[in-house]
């Protein structure tokens, strides 16, 4: 079908016979094209370079693009917009997500721009096939809900839908992935959870990313998953919680009630906990929301102390996901820091692109008891103080630096070495750097601040190998 590299250019691909063609069913050699050609589901096949090899008649009908025209078109990763030519829109829609190109089956829902306001959702299933060289081809299937189904929940205007779509894309599976064994396990559990509507209990330390995991599960659902409603059971009044949980407050009329994510359900009043148990019995229906919960403390302990109803604990524990603390994700640290920096950089004119080696040492040395939330907060603070595109240790909050230093302090019983020359050099180095920073890199001004002559400053900078002026 294709050349050694799976490219379309070297492929010889005859058009499949139509379903009505005589002999199509009795052909002695099995022809996969004939099988797919008859499918009423729009189907397409891409080669490893994401070029279209094959489309069936249902695909042609849905997209309005003929098979001959479609063959060879390369699918591109981008979010289609109204101004795009239609073939570009289709090429963007049919592009498999990254995890599919890595060999994992994938499902995604994409917004099809309409010429006026009639935007609509199409659902895509991707099934990759591999050979010894890696990815061989990808089989794609499109499910386009009928206009009647789409009308039930009229789509949001284009720009608002794009905002929501952006949130959904941020919570894709590949954004959650990590190299640590604990995160790989979480990823598998998230995949499993996204295939059902069972309640999910997410456990983990404060700031470990429980809410992010819950959102990721929510947005993996095919079709319109409804809204993701996160409720803080500790700080919202009981009446407000009850209104959203049991009366669909603010969301009446929504065909799919989506997910209610409860932070610390043990803080709900007991009668609300009992009602929640009843609700969860019915939450397999789309008209009722799916319940997920996140707990900092072990819910079994809470059930033991009667803060959390035993029935609710059991009902929530259909699937339990343990989110590992950051200190157990050292191998994921570079990826996490990159992603959090990307987030902290939003809107910055001069984005921070990384950390100095010393800053990396610091980040690895600190235990991050507040997990991802604390790491993000620290990076955000550091970005505010960084004059250039690299974060250094001095840009991080003083309390964290002190904590690292205290951790590094050797035991009192050990003899403390005090290499005077080295300590003096360190102090001199820091003072020079401080003066240079205050003087915004102006060496004459820095020399004035230090009350020394400029040539002396230059000599000391050379001796101490100080090159940065920031």
């Amino acid at each position: 079908m294709t050349g050694a590299d799976g490219s379309f250019e070297s492929a010889s691909l005859p058009l499949p016979p139509s379903a009505s063609e005589p002999g199509a069913q009795n052909t002695p050699d099995f022809r996969w094209q004939a099988l797919f050609a008859r499918s009423s589901d729009p189907i397409f096949v891409l080669n490893r370079r994401r070029r279209i090899l094959f489309v069936n008649q249902a695909w042609e009908k849905l997209t309005g693009i003929g098979a001959t025209e479609a063959r060879g078109l390369a699918c591109i990763r981008r979010t289609p917009i109204v101004q795009d030519p239609w073939d570009v829109v289709i090429r963007a829609l049919c592009c498999p997500p990254p995890e599919v190109l890595k060999g994992q089956p994938g499902r995604t829902r994409r917004l099809v721009p309409g010429t006026k306001t009639a935007w609509r959702w199409w659902e895509f299933d991707f099934l990759p096939f591999r050979d010894s060289d890696g990815l061989l081809c990808v089989l794609g299937k499109i499910a386009a809900p009928s206009e009647r189904e789409q009308v039930e929940t009229p789509p949001l205007p284009e720009k608002l839908a794009a905002l929501r779509s952006g949130v959904e894309q941020r919570h894709s599976l590949d954004r959650l992935a990590g190299n640590s064994p604990a995160m790989r396990r979480v990823l598998e559990q998230v995949r499993l959870a996204s295939e059902s509507r069972f309640p999910v209990l997410i456990r983990g330390e404060r700031g470990a990313g429980k809410s992010w995991v819950a959102r990721t599960i929510h947005y993996q659902r095919s079709g319109n998953p409804g809204p993701f409603v996160a409720l803080d059971c500790t700080r919202l009044p009981a009446s407000a919680l009850a209104a959203v949980l049991f009366d669909h407050y603010s969301l009446r009329g929504q065909a799919d009630q989506g997910t209610r994510y409860l932070r610390e359900p043990g803080n709900l009043p007991r009668d609300a906990q009992a009602r929640l148990c009843d609700l969860m019995g019915a939450s397999s229906a789309a008209s009722e929301p799916r319940i997920m919960a996140g707990c900092d403390v072990d819910p079994a302990d809470e059930a033991g102390t009667s803060r959390l109803l035993e029935e609710l604990h059991c009902a929530l524990s259909t699937l339990v996901i343990e989110v590992p603390p950051l200190r157990e994700r050292q191998t994921d640290m570079p990826t996490l820091v990159d992603r959090l920096l990307e987030r902290a950089n939003t809107g910055r004119e001069q984005p921070v692109i990384g950390l100095t080696p010393e800053a990396w040492e610091f980040v690895r040395a600190y235990s991050w008891p507040g997990n991802l939330r604390e790491l993000y907060s620290a990076l955000q603070t550091a970005c505010l103080h960084a004059p250039n595109d690299r974060l250094d240790v001095c840009h991080f909050p003083a309390a964290l630096r002190l904590a690292v230093r205290l951790d590094e302090t050797p035991d009192a019983s050990k003899e403390l070495a005090l290499p005077l020359d080295h300590l003096l050099e360190q102090a001199e180095r820091r003072l020079i750097l401080l003066a240079l920073r205050k003087a915004q890199g102006n060496r004459s001004r820095a020399a004035e601040i230090l009350s020394i002559w400029r040539p002396r400053l230059l000599r000391r900078m050379e001796a101490l190998k100080i090159q940065e002026t920031g």
Partner: protein
Amino acid sequence: MRHPQVLVYETDGRLAEMLRRESKPRQWSVREPRGLDACLRLLQRGGPSVLVLKIGKDLVRETTLLERVMWQFPDTSAFVVSDTEDSRIAALAWDLGATFIVFPSLPRQGLHNLIAGFLEIVPGRGLAAKSVQDLMGPSPTAGESGKDLGDQ
């Protein structure tokens, strides 16, 4: 000491006035940033913050503000207030990370009590102090390392 801050984004100043009146004994600082950038600048200064966002005048601008704040400052609590009940907009606001949505069926005066729950857990502490204090736990090290970074 830094007071907890409530940022109110609206066009007519009524919500801010109401919150200012009701929060007087509580010493919240009620600010009315004009535009996205001013709002982000205020949030960057730290402090446990609540954003009260009145939507309906310019939905795109308002929801963009909500999205941006929740993305960049996930610790901020965002209350969305609307004069009209539209479940699609509510669904969008929840998806963007709203903490709660106040529709006309809820009395506006209730907003004050809703906000109080989010500001009075750590009264007067800065955002960084809150995180360090909470995150480092009650160890002596944490206590010595700086009780209130907001004061630094």
